[in-house]
């Protein structure tokens, strides 16, 4: 029961992340034409060479991560206590990858591209919050394992 709140928060935040990254992925894949630039922002970030990793738009990577986080956290809510530790570690690990990569992307926006896309910043913040929740979740699982 202790770990219900952080898990529920992760479910909610993952849903928000899916919304944000879906919109960004759509704008990358469908609305790829950036010919007339608004001042610094998503257009500039989208136009930068960091916007794609190979043939994957960066927001698609985020979308995949949020979908995985949502699936893991929903499963965690209804899973048997025995499998909670494994699921929690998977959530924590994925959130850590997400937060590190988001930090790198935010660094690129600040120092390489020198423009912020607020959708990307929102996604980074959501991933940061998911990471915090995953740490809380991990702690509660650790405490539960202490309890007799």
């Amino acid at each position: 029961v202790k770990n219900t709140l952080p898990t529920t928060l992760i479910v909610a935040l993952s849903a928000v992340g899916i919304g944000v990254s879906s919109y960004l992925t759509y704008s990358y894949v469908i609305d790829v034409q950036v010919v007339c630039f608004e001042s610094a922002g998503c257009d500039l970030v989208k136009a930068s060479p960091y916007a794609w990793v190979g043939s994957f738009p960066v927001p698609l990577l985020g979308l995949l991560a949020y979908v995985a986080l949502l699936a893991l956290s929903v499963t965690n809510l209804w899973s048997a206590p025995a499998s909670k530790a494994g699921l929690t570690l998977a959530i924590f690990g994925l959130a850590l990858v997400g937060v590190l990569f988001s930090a790198y992307l935010t660094y690129l926006e600040a120092f390489e591209i020198r423009a912020f896309c607020y959708w990307c910043v929102t996604s980074a913040a959501v991933m940061g919050l998911i990471f915090v929740c995953s740490v809380l979740l991990l702690r509660s699982v650790e405490q539960n394992s202490h309890d007799p």
Binding site: V32, Q33, V34, V35, C36, F37, E38, S39, A40, D43, L44, A47, S48, P49, Y50, W52, V53, G54, V58, L61, A85, L89, A90, F92, G93, L94, L96, V97, L100, F101, Y104, E112, I113, A115, L138, V141, E142, S145, H146
Partner: protein, 305 residues
């Protein structure tokens, strides 16, 4: 408990490694992207079809030692072309070259909100030369407006015409107000500005005749890439179109001369785009951004004296 801690440590290790791989892949992918020819390759097919004169190919990134040399001299290469429409002193310590399209709403906003401030603070004080060049993004209507601009420039009346065309197309800046100007609308603007109407009309009529002639042959030639190139080559027979295309060709030269670190920004160029003493700025940024870049270049110019 130890097992959980050990597994947590392992998860951290895996996560850091996975993030490292992702970051490395992202960085490597960006570097590869930088080394590939930009511009046309990045324009989707729909945009290319709509672009009368697409951006000229820029050369792939040069080998490191050569590009470093280019970077070192980037700011020393004269940006200004004396025959271009420009405001300010030709020998001003800072030259801003703007690439714009008359149908770009952000260009219109820049004209409305930012150029007047740059003019007051830097152009009128002899510190900045502000040069205009065409970059056609919005197809035939934009080319017609650009040609009309060149016709006005022949009479030394570019800037008044430039401002009037933006105002006529975008009105108070609301996108929904934008409308296509026909040749007659452009002629009317020239008349209102007191230009030599006979000369202006003849200049625009010559273009229209060339355009119609080229368009007729274009319709029968298959409409593939080779055909589009033929169409552009045909249009270049008009001297004003040739000038517009020269403007666009100068873009790739300026991109090649950019410092290596700034070439990333030029990968998917759009309008408005600015070259400020050889440094790129893409987008209708607020005046504060221009001020900062201009002041930096002015400070550099002072120390070089």
């Amino acid at each position: 408990m130890n097992t959980l801690k050990q597994r947590t440590a392992l998860a951290i290790l895996f996560a850091v490694a996975a993030a490292g791989v992702l970051i490395f892949t992202s960085y490597f992918s960006a570097r590869t992207h930088l080394a590939s020819p930009p511009a046309q390759a990045n324009l989707p097919a729909t945009a290319q079809a709509d672009t009368v004169a697409s951006i000229p190919d820029a050369a792939p990134a040069a080998p490191e030692p050569e590009s470093q040399t280019k970077t070192a001299v980037a700011t020393e290469v004269p940006l200004a072309i004396p025959t271009q429409p420009a405001k300010g002193n030709l020998n001003a310590p800072v030259t801003i070259v703007e690439f714009a399209d008359f149908y770009c709403p952000y260009c219109a906003r820049h004209v409305r909100e930012t150029i007047p401030l740059i003019e007051t603070d830097y152009i009128d004080t002899g510190l900045v030369r502000y040069e205009f060049r065409n970059l056609i993004i919005h197809g035939q209507p934009a080319l017609l407006a650009a040609v009309a601009g060149e016709c006005a420039h022949q009479q030394g009346a570019f800037w008044g015409f430039h401002d009037a065309v933006f105002e006529r197309i975008f009105g108070d800046g609301n996108r929904s107000d934008s409308r296509h100007l026909e040749a007659d609308d452009l002629k009317q603007i020239a008349t209102q500005l007191g230009l030599n109407c006979a000369a202006f009309d003849a200049c625009l009529d010559t273009y229209e005749q060339t355009y119609n002639k080229c368009h007729d042959s274009y319709q029968t030639c298959g409409q593939d890439t080779a055909c589009a190139e033929q169409f552009q080559g045909c249009l270049e027979n008009d001297p004003m179109v040739a000038k517009v295309f020269e403007d666009q060709a100068s873009l790739s030269t300026l991109i090649e001369q950019l410092p290596e670190a700034e070439k990333a920004q030029a990968q998917r160029i759009g309008t408005p785009a600015f070259f400020i003493n050889g440094h790129i700025l893409i987008g209708a940024h607020p005046y504060a951004v221009f001020k900062e870049m201009i002041d930096t270049q002015l400070a550099k110019a002072r120390t070089q004296r």
